[in-house]
Symmetry: C2
Subunit: 214 residues, 2 copies
C-alpha cells in the first residue's frame, strides 16, 4: 500500500512547478485531471470508476493515488477550476466602474470566454446535480453566481437600460441559459466564424438578431 | 395492500383512443408513459429498469407489458411525442406565407410553447445521446429540425433581415440553445411573469435586451 500523496490543484500542466510533477513520467495532476474530466463527461461521474481512469491513462490504479486521494477529489478539483474562472470574471464585473448593463455584458462575454477556454470543466460543472457534498458546494457557488446575474439584470432594468417588458428573473435565466447552451455543441478546434463567439452571443442577447433599418 | 390510485397524465390520456386503454384499472398507456418519462429524466434511461417503473407505478412488472412491449418502446413513444409537437410547428412555419425572419420567429415561439406543454418529453429528447436505434432515429429527426433552423437563418440573412455580422451556423445554434436551455429550469406551475415565456425569448433573441432610446 502506498500512502496517498497530497492533492494538488493546478490550472494546467504548464502552470505547475516542475517539482510538483510526480508519479509516473508522462502524467502530472493536470493531465490526470484532464483525462478524468473527459471520462466524467463521457460516462457520467457515477459511471466512471478509478479503474476506468487508470485504463484510460494507461497506468496502474495505485499510480493515480500519487496525485489525488480519490475520485471525489478529482471532481472537486475539476469543479473548482471551472468555478475559479467564472469567479474571476464575476469579481472583475463587480469592480467595473460602469453602469449595470455594461457590467452584465462584461459578465456574459467573460463567461463565454471561460467556457471556451475551459469547456470540459464548465461542461462538468453544468451537469452537476448535487448528489455529494462536493457537488452541493459547487451548486451553491453556481447559485451565488446566478444571484449576481439576477442583481445586475434588475439594476440595469431600474436604470432603464433593459427593455421594461423583460422580466428580470426570466431574463437572467435566459441569458445564462444561452451562454451555458454553448457547451452542447462547442468544440475548441472549430472556431466561431467571422466574429468571436462572445461577440455573437452579446450581439444577439443585447441588440438582437434583427437587422436595424434606418 | 391497497390498490394504487389512478395517476393520469392529463393532456395525453384524453388524446389516446379508448381502445388502447388496457391493463389494470387506474393505468393507461399515457399514465405509464408519463411515469416512465419522469423516471428516465430522474435516473437516466439506462439507469431505469422496468422493475423501477413497476415500483413507481405500484403495479406488477407484467402489468406494464399490457401497455407496451418494453422499455425501448416507452422511450420511442416519449421521443415521438416531443418530436411530433416540434414537427407540427416546423410544418406550419414552413407553410407560412411570410419572410424567413417571420417564419423563424414563428418556429422559435412555437418551439418554446411545445417545450412548455411537453417539458418532460422535450427534456428527455434533449438528453438523447444516440446509444440505441430508437435514440439514433430521434437524433436524426432533431438534426433535420436543426437544418431547417439553419436554412431559415441563412435565408433571413440573405434577405437582409438578420444583422450581417451574425454567422448563420452559430446563430442557429445559439437560437435553439437558448430555447432548449429552458428545460433546465422550467417548471409548469411557475409561470413566466408578465409576458409569456415565448414572447420573452423572441424579444431577447430578435430585438435584444437593451432598451431602445430615440
Amino acid at each position: 500500500m502506498t500512502a496517498p500523496a497530497a492533492p494538488r490543484a493546478g490550472r494546467a500542466a504548464t502552470a505547475l512547478p516542475a517539482g510538483r510533477r510526480r508519479g509516473r513520467p508522462g502524467h502530472d495532476l493536470s493531465s490526470v485531471l484532464a483525462v478524468a474530466v473527459g471520462l466524467f463527461n463521457e460516462r457520467g461521474y457515477d459511471g466512471t470508476s478509478m479503474r476506468d481512469l487508470a485504463a484510460r491513462l494507461g497506468i496502474a490504479k495505485s499510480a493515480i493515488y500519487h496525485h489525488v486521494a480519490g475520485k471525489e477529489e478529482l471532481l472537486r478539483l475539476a469543479l473548482d477550476r471551472a468555478l475559479a474562472g467564472l469567479s474571476v470574471v464575476a469579481d472583475r464585473a463587480r469592480a467595473l466602474p460602469a453602469p449595470a448593463i455594461e457590467r452584465l455584458e462584461y459578465l456574459v462575454r467573460g463567461s463565454v470566454e471561460v467556457l471556451e477556454a475551459e469547456s470540459p470543466y464548465v461542461t462538468l460543472l453544468l451537469r452537476v446535480r448535487g448528489n455529494t457534498d462536493v457537488e452541493r458546494a459547487a451548486l451553491d457557488r453556481r447559485r451565488g453566481f446566478d444571484r449576481f446575474v439576477a442583481e445586475l439584470v434588475a439594476e440595469a432594468t431600474r436604470d432603464g437600460d433593459i427593455r421594461p417588458d423583460a422580466d428580470a428573473v426570466i431574463t437572467a435565466r435566459l441569458l445564462f441559459g444561452l451562454v451555458n447552451s454553448i457547451v452542447e455543441w462547442y468544440r475548441p478546434d472549430r472556431g466561431a466564424g467571422r466574429a468571436s463567439l462572445a461577440d455573437q452571443v452579446c450581439a444577439m442577447a443585447f441588440d438582437g438578431l434583427r437587422a436595424r433599418r434606418r
